[in-house]
């Protein structure tokens, strides 16, 4: 180790304030370095001089005069004993584990209750908002019913398309004339467009299902009511 590095440590080595590992390294270096030994001696002398000066002054330094000491004691005796006038009772109590447990339980209970109230508040919020909207904007009512009508009107349109698809499948499986298939396809396409048109139309009261027999070419139509009950048929 270099002298510069050692001399930085001498200020602590002189009073044995270095860590053990550092102390051993410095000690080893000092055994073979007269320059660093001289530095150490200089540091020792400086500290010794300061300590001697301090001790000499300490013996001459004025002590408390009895008047100021007795005045101080009077002031102290006028103070209420700390146990009774304890503003820090909370901090002292904090040290007690029972108090800490009680406080922790209280905080947890508060958090849980707050969570419950917040959740309840969230559940109530949408319903009240809708109720408020309905109450404040009566115009929204017919709009809402028309939307409902759209949805219900779309429902019977879907079976109509399915029937035509079934018809097309039947025609294909029966290997009938390709002209018929084409006709059904067109009907299917027009039916779909009808269905899409029906999507905006009011709900129909009757549904007709048509079947074409491939052998005879006879078309049978079933008439169903809105509950899919057979009202009648025709050829």
């Amino acid at each position: 180790m270099k002298c510069k590095s050692i001399q930085k440590k001498l200020a602590l080595y002189v009073s044995d304030d270095l860590r053990p590992g550092q102390k051993d390294r410095v000690q080893k270096h000092l055994e073979g370095c007269s320059t660093c030994r001289h530095e150490l001696q200089s540091m020792k002398e400086a500290l010794l001089k300061i300590k001697k000066a301090d001790l000499a002054e300490r013996s001459r330094l004025a002590d408390w005069d009895e008047k100021s000491w007795s005045e101080l004691l009077k002031r102290i005796s006028a103070i209420e004993p700390p146990v009774k006038s304890r503003p820090a009772r909370f901090f002292v109590a904090w040290r007690e584990s029972a108090f800490r447990l009680a406080l922790a339980a209280g905080i947890i209970a508060l958090i849980v209750l707050t969570g419950i109230f917040v959740r309840q508040g969230r559940h109530q919020l949408p319903s009240t908002a809708i109720a408020g909207k309905e109450a404040t904007t009566p115009e929204s009512r017919p709009e809402k019913t028309s939307t409902e009508a759209e949805i219900t009107a779309g429902q019977p349109a879907q079976p109509a398309a399915e029937i035509l698809t079934e018809k097309l499948a039947e025609a294909e499986t029966s290997a009938g004339p390709s002209g018929k298939k084409q006709k059904i396809r067109e009907e299917l396409l027009s039916g779909k467009s009808t269905a899409s048109e029906n999507a905006t139309a009011p709900q129909p009261d009757r549904i007709e299902m048509a079947f074409v027999l491939p052998e005879s070419g006879v078309q049978v139509v079933w008439v169903l009511d809105r509950n899919f009950k057979l009202e009648g048929d025709r050829q």
Partner: protein, 202 residues
Amino acid sequence: MDEREKELVRKALSGESSAFEELVLPYRRSLLHLAYRMTGDMEEAMDIAQETLLRSFRYLDRFDQERNFRNWLFQIAANLAKDWQQKKILETGAGRISIEAEASENPGFSLAARDSSRQPATEMRSDLNLDLNSCLRRLSARERQVFILRDLEGLSIRETADLLKTSSLSVRVSLSSARKKIRQILGEQKKSDPEDRGTNEM
């Protein structure tokens, strides 16, 4: 803290001020000395020592009886001295800088010497012709605290760190720096003293 001191603390807490007097009496002089070293001003030192004892009684119930009672008193005094110094700096603007500059220019300068009610610096000088306060004033606040507690009051590194609420490493760094500065200051004084003596003799 020994059993006798614990007993005195218990009695003081129950309202016996005579027990408190018995408890602090062994430390009153070293407390005053510490305050004087930290402030360099005997009047301020007396105020700080008195305030330390008042506070120690007021907060005696917070004292951890596993600790050393003297070190607890020293801790209160060191904090009060630090507050006093900060207040002084605020009052005088760059006061500390100017005081330190004055001290460095004039090694015989000390705060105590500036007030006629206090003992002149020359009276406080030891036979070794060394103004200790002027040396201490040239250290930083933390270096001065560490040097006084470790080298003049004889606390260990660990005790000093606990008292100042810092790490042992920080104390070692400040102590090393303080000792190097002290050696340098003494070297400067050694060079200037023969000239002073020569002037006085003339």
